[in-house]
Symmetry: C2
Subunit: 298 residues, 2 copies
DNA sequence: CATTAACCGTAAGTTCTGCTTAACGATACG
DNA sequence: CGTATCGTTAAGCAGAACTTACGGTTAATG
C-alpha cells in the first residue's frame, strides 16, 4: 500500500514547484522531503521526479499520482467532516483567508455569531493575496477563502475546489464630492483612484469606464479601499465603491447618477472538495450569508 | 488530518468483529490495536467503539467512518494501480484465492502464461473458504478471488467489491457408470454424492433433482469433486460434474440424457473496488479467460 | 568571469511514533 | 467457581522520520 503521507509530500512539491518551497510551506527541512520522496520512488519502482535545472519537475507518472492523490484527499476530507458532524458542534481550528473590506465589514459580526453557536470552534482570519490563498487552501494552511468576483472576469477556479456564492455586493460609481457631470468629455478629465492594475477589481473598473465612453485618468493607486472612500469624500478623486464599504463606514456619500449603475461583485466562499459539508465551513457560510443579507438591506 | 493507518485499523476491527481478531489478522498484538484506536478517538474527540460484553462494537459514528474509509481505500487502490500501470509490467506479489477444481484444471496453465508476460509478477494461489476469502480480500491478504456461482443462487456480493465474469462451465448429470434410468421413481433410489449441504453447489444440485421430480438419496458427502468423479466411475453414485473436471481428468464418462442438461455455473473473479484496472489483476483475468475458452471447446 | 544564492542529494545524529511484552480487570463459558 | 478470552494500561524498545551539516550543481548578478 502506498504511504499517504509520502504522496501528500509529492503533491506539495507539485503545488509549490520545488522541494524547498514545499518544505518551507510545511515547515520541514528540505532534506526530509528529499528523503521521503526518494523512498517513495524506491518503494514504487517508478521515477516520479526529475531534475529541471536546479529544481525538480514531476514526471508523467508523478503527475498522474498527484491527480489520484487529490481524490484520496477529498475522500479523507469528507470522512473527517462527517466525523466532526457526528457530534453536532464544530470544534478545533478553522482558518479563513479573506480580503480587506469584508474583513472589516461583516467578518467581526459573523465571528460573534459563530462563536455563540459553536463555542469550541476557533475561527482564524488571515489576509493573503488571492493566488497565494489558493495554494495555501490546497496545502491545508487555510480551510476556506472569501473572495470576490466581478462580472465578465474569468474566475478561473482550479479543480479540486468547491465554490459557493455568499451574496452580492452592489458597486456604485462616485464622483469627487460636490461634483456632477453630464458627458464623457467631462468625465475624461476627472482624477480617479483605483486598485492596482493587475487586480480583477481595477480591470473591471477600467472596463466600466470604457463602456461608458471615456478613459479614466487614474492618478491614484491603492489596494486600500478605505483610502478610495476618503479621496472621494475630500473631492479629490472619483471611484467605484462597494455598498459594503459605505455601510461599514456610515458614509453619507451619494453615488453619481451618470456613472454605470446596477453593478455588483459576487462574494464567494471557496473550500476544498470533500469539505463542502464540513460543520465549521457550514457555520462560517451561514453566518456570512446572514450578515450579508443585513448589508443588502441598507 | 485523520491518520489513514488508524482508520484502517478501525475498519479491520469492523471486519473481524473484535480487536483481538483484527490483531491476529494483521499479526499485531491486540494492545497495538487498542492503543491506536484510543488515540484515534482522542484525536477526533468522537467515541468510535463501545464495549459489548467482552468484545467491542462500532458506534454509529464509527460505522460511518468505516464507510468513508472504504472510499479512501478504493481511491488509494486506484492510485496504486495506475502507478504500477505506468511502467507497463506488473510486478510484486499478487495473491489469488481459488477453489479446488479450478486450481487444478486451469490455474497452472494460466500461471505459466502470466509468468511469461510478466516475469516480475509473483502470483500466489491460496485455498480459502468462500466467506473467509471475502474477509481476507477486504483486509488485503488476498487480492482476488476466483469463485463460482450457480444460477438462481444469490451471489450476495458485498459492496466495495468488483466482480467480473470469467466464463461459463457446463455442468452435467452423471448416473453411476453402466446404469441408465427412465423415470423419477427409479431416480429416487439411486445413491448420490454431493458437496456439503451448506455449499451453494449442493443446494443447487438438490434443486435440480427436485425440479426433475425426485428427492435424491444423498449417501455420500465430500467437498472433493474428484472423489465424486471416482464414485461415478465405479458405479457407486450419481453426481453433477462440471465439464472442467471431465476435461481435467480426461475421463470418458458420458452424461445421462435423462438428468437436466444445459446447466452451467458461472466462474467469477472478485476484486476490491479501485483495483479493477490493476495490471496484475488484468493479467490474471486475461489468462484465465483464455484458458477457460480452451476448456469450453472440449 | 568570478561571486553569490538557491536548489537538491547524502551522511550522521536525534526525536518520536508505534509496536511488544507484561500485568490487570472484566466478561462469558463449561 | 475456575478458566479462557477480551480489552485496557504501563513500561520499554526498535525503527521511522526529521534535523543538522556538508557537498555538488545550476542560475542570477556585478
Amino acid at each position: 500500500m502506498l504511504d499517504l503521507n509520502r504522496i501528500r509530500l509529492l503533491r506539495e512539491v507539485s503545488l509549490h514547484g520545488s522541494m524547498s518551497a514545499a518544505a518551507r510551506s510545511l515547515s520541514y527541512s528540505h532534506s526530509a522531503i528529499s528523503q521521503q520522496l526518494s523512498l517513495l520512488e524506491r518503494e514504487t519502482g517508478v521515477k516520479l521526479l526529475e531534475r529541471a535545472g536546479r529544481n525538480v519537475q514531476l514526471t508523467a507518472a508523478g503527475r498522474e499520482l498527484v491527480r489520484n492523490t487529490e481524490t484520496v484527499l477529498a475522500a479523507m476530507e469528507k470522512a473527517e467532516s462527517d466525523l466532526a458532524a457526528s457530534h453536532g458542534r464544530a470544534q478545533g481550528a478553522f482558518t479563513v483567508a479573506a480580503f480587506a473590506s469584508i474583513s472589516r465589514a461583516v467578518l467581526p459580526a459573523a465571528l460573534v455569531r459563530i462563536a455563540q453557536a459553536h463555542p469550541d470552534l476557533e475561527v482564524r482570519i488571515q489576509r493573503y493575496e488571492p493566488e497565494d490563498a489558493i495554494v495555501r487552501l490546497a496545502s491545508r494552511q487555510v480551510d476556506a477563502i472569501i473572495t470576490d468576483s466581478f462580472p465578465g472576469t474569468s474566475s478561473g477556479s482550479a479543480n479540486g475546489l468547491h465554490t459557493t456564492i455568499l451574496g452580492q455586493d452592489p458597486i456604485r460609481g462616485y464622483l469627487p464630492a460636490g461634483l456632477e457631470i453630464s458627458d464623457a468629455q467631462a468625465a475624461a478629465n476627472i482624477p480617479w483612484v483605483m486598485e492596482p492594475a493587475e487586480t480583477a477589481a481595477a480591470q473591471w473598473a477600467l472596463r466600466m469606464c470604457r463602456e461608458r465612453g471615456f478613459e479614466p485618468r487614474v492618478l491614484h493607486v491603492s489596494s486600500d479601499v478605505l483610502f478610495h472612500l476618503r479621496m472621494v469624500e475630500r473631492g479629490l478623486a472619483a471611484a467605484f465603491l462597494p455598498d459594503m464599504l459605505i455601510v461599514e463606514t456610515g458614509s453619507r456619500l451619494q453615488p453619481s447618477h451618470w456613472l454605470p449603475a446596477d453593478q455588483r461583485r459576487t462574494l464567494l466562499l471557496i473550500a476544498r472538495k470533500g469539505s463542502e459539508d464540513n460543520l465549521a465551513l457550514t457555520a462560517v457560510r451561514l453566518a456570512l450569508e446572514d450578515e450579508l443579507r443585513h448589508v443588502d438591506k441598507l
